[in-house]
Symmetry: C2
Subunit: 342 residues, 2 copies
Amino acid sequence: MIHPIILCGGSGTRLWPRSRAAAPKPFIPLVGDNTLFQATLARCQNREIFAAPMVVAGQSHLDHVIAQSASLPDIQIIVEPTAKNTAPAIALAACRLPADAIMLVCPSDHYIADQAAFVRAAQAASKLAGDDWLVGFGIEPDRPETGYGYILQGEEIAGGYRIDRYVEKPDQTRAEAFLEEGCYSWNGGIFAFRAGAFLRELALHRPDMANAVQQSVAQGTKDGPIFHPEPQQFGKIDGESVDYAVMENTRHAAMVPAKMGWSDIGNWQALRDARPSDERGNAIFGRGEMIDCTNVMVDSDGPRVSVVGLDDVMVVVDGDEILVVSASGAQKVGTLTGAKSG
Amino acid sequence: MIHPIILCGGSGTRLWPRSRAAAPKPFIPLVGDNTLFQATLARCQNREIFAAPMVVAGQSHLDHVIAQSASLPDIQIIVEPTAKNTAPAIALAACRLPADAIMLVCPSDHYIADQAAFVRAAQAASKLAGDDWLVGFGIEPDRPETGYGYILQGEEIAGGYRIDRYVEKPDQTRAEAFLEEGCYSWNGGIFAFRAGAFLRELALHRPDMANAVQQSVAQGTKDGPIFHPEPQQFGKIDGESVDYAVMENTRHAAMVPAKMGWSDIGNWQALRDARPSDERGNAIFGRGEMIDCTNVMVDSDGPRVSVVGLDDVMVVVDGDEILVVSASGAQKVGTLTGAKSG
């Protein structure tokens, strides 16, 4: 059995004004009728393959998590006392599982078009994890993306590849070279670990963090399906991503290639690309009209939006906030005053 | 004395959604605090040069005209029974004036930055009109504009030039050639006529129209400062512009060159260009924020508008209508569903 560990972190400010503090990215319907969180749960719903999911979320997300997982009576929830990035969050889950449990760590705010391919990759990764590899999903790139970290594929092993190294977000020239070379894939933020193997590697490379998490779990309290780690121990941790804390340090890093229509829905451009559009690339959600437009997305919760003579632009209306952003500007939405104030 | 004849026609649909049936273009503040109608009146306020203005307006504009001219007790208003374009509207005014009165016909929805230059041109045009020339203002072009009709300047006469001919809106190549050649100017829609001379030329080239207007005025009724021409006679007229009906036919067409910061504010691009902007060409009216923008105008009556990574785009919010339009798309705004339904 594979234990899905669903991480609910991040603020999604680059999807402001639709994603806001009160309604963050995983919990709003962005692609189709389900929220990204609901879709993440649904991907792991086959109980012949997946055990009951375990969700790690902050206190501010808890109501959303409970409301949107009501159909899963066997779900378990761990409430992070404070946000400390992914390594401590995963460690909390690992401490709550038997050492031999295979964890599949999934962000709650990604989109995956091909469910079957996801399950196949999950099974391949879990098999490697059973042999104590720390396994990342390597998403096959289809464009020279500069917004993602990359994984350089190393020597082939049974069912996957060693990871040669992690590469920071490249510039355009390097991203094009990566695509050309073919041995680079995107770091999709999805991982498979044997719980005991993860904690062993964490203890090796981040002993303070491993120790603090273990004490925080040992002193934690349980309230039905909800587990509250002890906050003081957890609060001492220096927050760090699992990539930095573990994957880039361990000698047992492996990857499985995955081609599954993945997107991190990291900004309005990515969201537009994941959504259906007409033959000119245009899409209207809510009320709108377009003349002489290509690759334009309108997403309005009320007012009619009329667009004339634009290419590659997204217009978003949410209450009393209106965003108009070019594809090239999408990465900067999070720096707007409105996005920063939630 | 020069008699200002202020024409309030046109729907301004290309400035939708700010300009609507209930609040049409001349009567909303578009540049500065005054409306274009108020600014048109203010340009002719020097009573040593200008007589009391006479406004020709449709019934639907009457309330706006009265409300926005309350400070002018001597104003006269002619209510067009139906909209018949500019030639009949001007003829109505001409019939209500002594034959020797010099009329200065001014659209109510244009913008003129340089008031002193306007007055100088008006005086020059009126002098020519006193010699029975039918005089148009020829606006000196500063760009190869394809949205305006042009006037080809002919032989010099005292105080101006004969008009060689009128030229329809050109394509880009011809507009560039016109600018290069230097003897073409924009038809600004501003005219000076001796009332009797105008009516004589109208009777010569459009006898039916001249006759119908004269009968309509003869049978009209006066209600204080408001004159109502008889509607049945007026309704029989085939509507036509003064350019087509008179200026292109008369052998007495003349022009005075005018360089006065003129704009017809014909669409959102023209309005943006007439308004102040910062050193990057950006301007925010209402609440807004911009990142990586150039030549962007935001005009919102309520919601905050955040724009990222765009050039040469206008965003307009008016109630529950939002318009996003490129400079090149500005001419097509009037064809939007919202603009057509007012």
